[in-house]
């Protein structure tokens, strides 16, 4: 077996190296690789005070609202979004709205959830909105501290209803899970997260699940 020694591999017409190798074993890809199952998505832009992004890592610093543009596209039907909230200033809900071309959609949401309250020991069900009555989706009931959310989004960029399911655990260890729908068949290319009061800091990443 022969060994090709190189730092960069680049297509003749590409503007930058497609693959960069480091001497510690790292492989940096500028683009995507077929054959895998999931890709970290780099949004086209973000909006909101305290919101920045570097590659696919979207950083939130004391935000009240964070909009992510261009994270849903025709390459993927379904997505996984991880939201690591490292700090919230007060107990508040984390909400979300789908958006398109930089504009949030504020109608047509339904949602239902259940969580276990550590303080009461109760299993609590909540219907956030029924009959497309809600203007937003609300996730979790976080303590004013860390909250971790795994959100699966189905078909946001298709001309079909958009569904989402989420699992969350907050700093108190309260497990929470919810199901949501956006009842229109609008195509969405982005999403906005917000807190209902106070501010939130943390990191968001959007992963596209390969279609084929």
């Amino acid at each position: 077996m022969s060994t090709l020694k190189a730092i960069n591999l680049q297509h003749p017409t590409a503007s930058t190296a497609n693959i960069t190798l480091s001497n510690t074993g790292g492989i940096a890809l500028n683009g995507s690789v077929s054959g895998g199952g999931m890709d970290l998505i780099t949004p086209t832009s973000v909006a909101g005070s305290g919101v920045t992004f570097s590659g696919g890592a979207i950083s939130l610093n004391a935000i009240t609202s964070a909009s992510i543009n261009g994270c849903f596209n025709a390459l993927y039907d379904n997505y996984i979004i991880t939201i690591t909230c490292t700090a919230t200033t007060v107990s508040a809900y984390v909400g979300m709205k789908f958006r398109n071309a930089g504009v949030d959609t504020s109608t047509g949401y339904n949602g239902a959830s259940r969580y276990v309250s550590v303080s009461s020991g109760s299993d609590i069900a909540v219907n956030w909105g029924l009959a497309a009555a809600s203007s937003q989706l609300l996730m979790s009931q976080p303590a004013p501290d860390s909250t971790f959310i795994s959100l699966n989004v189905f078909s946001p960029y298709l001309t079909a209803k958009t569904g989402a399911v989420a699992q969350m655990v907050n700093f108190n260890g309260e497990p929470w899970r919810g199901g949501f729908s956006q009842t229109s068949i609008t195509q969405f290319d982005g999403i906005t997260f917000f807190v209902t009061s106070g501010t939130l800091s943390g990191t968001v990443r959007v992963y596209g699940l390969r279609n084929s």
């Binding site: 591999l9 680049q10 297509h11 003749p12 017409t13 590409a14 930058t16 497609n18 693959i19 492989i27 890809l29 500028n30 683009g31 995507s32 690789v33 077929s34 054959g35 895998g36 199952g37 999931m38 039907d77 379904n78 339904n110 949602g111 239902a112 959830s113 259940r114 299993d123 069900a125 909540v126 219907n127 909105g129 029924l130 009959a131 497309a132 699966n152 989004v153 189905f154 078909s155 079909a160 209803k161 958009t162 569904g163 989402a164 399911v165 699992q167 899970r177 919810g178 199901g179 949501f180 729908s181 009842t183 699940l209 390969r210 279609n211 084929s212």
Partner: protein
């Protein structure tokens, strides 16, 4: 030409990348009226049973399944699943299920044993399960199989609900496939299975 680098930055022709964590699985075959596949995308139209063969192998212990159901045709639907081996469904009374849910109807929850299938979508009138995500642990290993899932659905009248299932197939048998079944209706949509890398 096993690998090609395109001018747009993409690298194609790679079947496996060391260091990645998840792969879209291409089944060896599918079965059922209205069921087709292209690469890892399994499509079904007006199907009553969607059978997928060769999707579980020794290359992966655990799998994630993403199911988009766009169109049951009418009425109450109840989507279930069965593991399968060598083209035959495991239909014995060996599935155990616990679930909890919330919807306009309030709380739901139950625990049952001795089921002949695992539940993907609970029975309910005029509901479309727009998205279901479930994991399958160790189906190709000769141990019991775990199937935790979470789904959201909306009714034609606009209501919404969620269901969490924790299910298990108790036999220590290896399976290479899975079937989805719908009772008293047909379903259309897509399904994809992702293998989580072992090492």
């Amino acid at each position: 030409m096993p690998v090609s680098i395109n001018g747009n930055g993409s690298v194609v022709g790679v079947t496996s990348v060391t260091g990645a964590g998840m792969d879209l699985i291409v089944p060896t075959s599918v079965a059922g009226t209205g069921v087709t596949f292209s690469g890892g995308q399994i499509s079904f139209t007006a199907a009553t049973e969607v059978s997928i063969n060769g999707c579980f192998t020794s290359a992966y212990d655990n799998y994630r399944v993403m199911l988009n159901v766009t169109a049951p045709t009418s009425g109450a639907i109840y989507i279930t699943g069965r593991l399968r081996a060598a083209g035959t469904n495991a239909a014995g009374a060996n599935y155990t299920s616990a679930y909890s849910g919330a919807s306009a109807a309030g709380f739901q929850g139950n625990y049952t044993t001795g089921n002949t299938s695992f539940s993907i979508k609970g029975n309910g009138a005029l509901e479309t399960p727009m998205g279901v995500v479930f994991d399958i642990t160790s189906p190709a290993l000769a141990v019991a199989t775990g199937i935790p899932s979470l789904n959201t659905f909306g009714t034609l009248s606009g209501n919404n609900g969620m269901l969490t299932f924790m299910q298990r197939h108790t036999l220590a048998t290896a399976y290479d496939g899975i079937s989805l079944l719908i009772a008293s209706d047909t379903m259309s949509g897509t399904l994809r299975i992702y293998g989580l890398r072992n090492a």
